[in-house]
């Protein structure tokens, strides 16, 4: 593997963007990334686009490869749609990383996009259930909040995790998100507001959930040589780890632990030659507040079962032992499913470049992204490093 670096980033506003289409979102993120990298576009060798289901979320449109290349004005290059449910973005980043690392391509776009608000909420809920097991979960009326609720219930039963501890994840991520201009919900929430929000699937309440969001993000990856020509601040991708688990939650070895994340994390640490102690900040997949607790445990930032307490003690806040979701996370920033994994890489790049303004983690050198598909059936972990 050659060294690979991020040389350009682009992201749209996240939110309910009635004036923006799937194609215009993709184009905006792509063009911003190309501009940020100082390219004309002719230098781009290939594109990998993470997108979960434009067909069900919009108008039956599939064939995402040419769709995304066309939208970004890059018709002609090899362009591949990558689908791994809510981890589609992370999986696209991994393919782009492998493609440059292998030497096949020098400059590649990894993008992610989802347009989710063109359908009504029950239809979006059905489409999202495609990330689970439609045959053995969805058929019986299972929803994603319900799956995470049953994981939360088990975590509470086995480890004594409380609803307040989960709510504190939302409080923290909204506080971080209030400093991010791209965020869907850039406001703070209180513990009481989260605890008293509408129940969705007990013990999960409305403010424990990430929203339904339109948005897109893109990063440009380059080989080390090209990266040094293009920028003074290349952000290196040190490693990529990916693992799968059973599609259905009930087939797993444990409901209170995410084994794919544990494996993806271990592989990524090993390939990067670091441990969790070396990581200065992390963007993790907080589609629900319990998901962040499961993530920080899986990644080794605290022991299994202690994620609630670790959160309560403020260790994942700005200034804590390991700041988690400085962007606001999926919770506040929004969760356009295919774009999320790339948006995480955008935040990490801003942090490691030292351009995160009010959200900046001082002296950040090494950072991590953790992107989950479904209830944990896919997990993709990337480790990034700033070098002088």
């Amino acid at each position: 593997m050659r060294k690979v670096a991020i040389v350009g980033i682009g992201i749209t506003k996240f939110g309910e963007l009635w004036e923006m289409s799937y194609r215009s979102l993709a184009a905006e993120a792509g063009l911003k990334a190309v501009e940020d990298a100082g390219l004309s576009g002719d230098e781009i060798d290939a594109l990998y686009g993470g997108t979960m289901t434009p067909g069900l979320f919009t108008d039956g449109q599939e064939h995402g490869g040419p769709l995304l290349a066309d939208a970004a004005g890059l018709t002609g290059i090899p362009s591949t749609r990558i689908e791994a449910a809510c981890a589609s973005g992370g999986a696209a980043l991994r393919q782009a990383y492998i493609s440059v690392g292998s030497g096949i391509n020098d400059i590649v776009v990894a993008g992610g996009v989802e347009k989710m608000t063109d359908v009504l909420t029950p239809s979006a809920t059905f489409a999202l259930m495609g990330a689970g097991d439609q045959k053995w979960e969805g058929f019986y009326g299972v929803t994603f909040p319900a799956l995470y609720a049953m994981m939360a219930r088990r975590h509470m039963y086995e480890y004594g995790t409380t609803e307040e501890q989960m709510a504190l994840v939302a409080v923290k991520n909204h506080a971080n998100g209030s400093k991010n201009s791209n965020t869907q919900y850039p406001f703070k929430v209180t513990l009481d507001q989260v605890m008293n929000s509408t129940p969705i699937a007990d013990p999960i309440k409305l403010l424990d959930c990430s929203p339904i969001t339109d948005g897109a993000a893109a990063v440009i990856l380059a080989s080390e040589d090209k990266a040094k020509e293009l920028t003074d601040t290349p952000i290196y991708i040190e490693s990529s780890g990916m693992a799968t688990d059973t599609l259905a939650l009930h087939d797993r070895k444990s409901l209170s632990r995410t084994d794919a994340a544990i494996k993806a994390g271990k592989d990524a640490y090993k390939l990067a030659g670091i441990t969790h102690n070396d990581v200065d900040l992390a963007e993790v997949h907080d589609c629900f507040t319990i998901a962040e607790i499961l993530a920080i445990e899986a990644l080794g930032f605290c022991n299994i079962g202690e994620g609630g307490k670790f959160t309560e003690e403020g260790e994942t806040e700005m200034g804590g032992k390991i700041p988690v979701n400085t962007s606001g996370g999926l919770k506040a920033k929004g969760h356009p499913v295919g774009a999320t994994g790339i948006a995480q890489a955008v935040e990490i790049t801003e942090q490691l470049r030292g351009e995160a303004k009010a959200r900046q983690v001082d002296g950040a050198e090494i950072a991590l992204t953790h992107n989950v598909g479904g209830s944990g059936a896919t997990c993709v972990v990337h480790i990034f490093k700033r070098r002088n």
């Binding site: 809920t125 059905f126 045959k135 979960e137 019986y140 609720a149 088990r154 129940p199 699937a201 009930h250």
Partner: protein, 134 residues
């Protein structure tokens, strides 16, 4: 949602109506829902159909208050992950039970019920649900 033909629903009748899964004769593990290959033994596995008793206990549960299309009329409803007596975990609704009594560890058994009306194949769908077993 796409309009489907009938075979996809017909194919799952043994499982959904009669709780028929698989037993691997090589390692002895029982699977529900059915598997396509024994994950423990792979090529050396030997799967045979196995009918589950339908008895088990609640492993985890929730109350769904915001549903996907087709289930709106049922909310709120209980969902449970049930640990079957024979080993595997399975998910379905918990019905006709006192909400105050539903908890982890409580004994349940299957009942045969209508799951939803008017699926994408135009057929009313039936299957197993669970009730508290006292």
């Amino acid at each position: 949602m796409a309009v489907k033909g009938l075979p996809a629903s017909w194919r799952k009748i043994p499982q959904r109506y009669n709780l028929i899964g698989d037993e691997c004769k090589t390692c002895g593990e029982r699977f529900f829902p059915p598997v396509t290959i024994c994950p423990n033994c792979r090529r050396t596995g030997s799967l045979e159909r196995y009918k589950f008793s339908g008895e088990g206990e609640i492993f985890s549960y929730t109350v769904v208050r915001a549903a996907q299309e087709g289930f709106d009329f049922q909310i709120p409803y209980f969902l449970g992950i049930i640990k079957l007596k024979e080993g595997p975990l399975v998910i379905s609704q918990i019905v006709d039970s006192d909400p105050e009594e539903i908890d982890i560890g409580k004994k349940v058994k299957t009942v045969f019920r209508k799951v939803r009306e008017d699926g994408s194949d135009g057929v009313i769908r039936y299957g197993y649900k669970f009730i508290l077993d006292r």
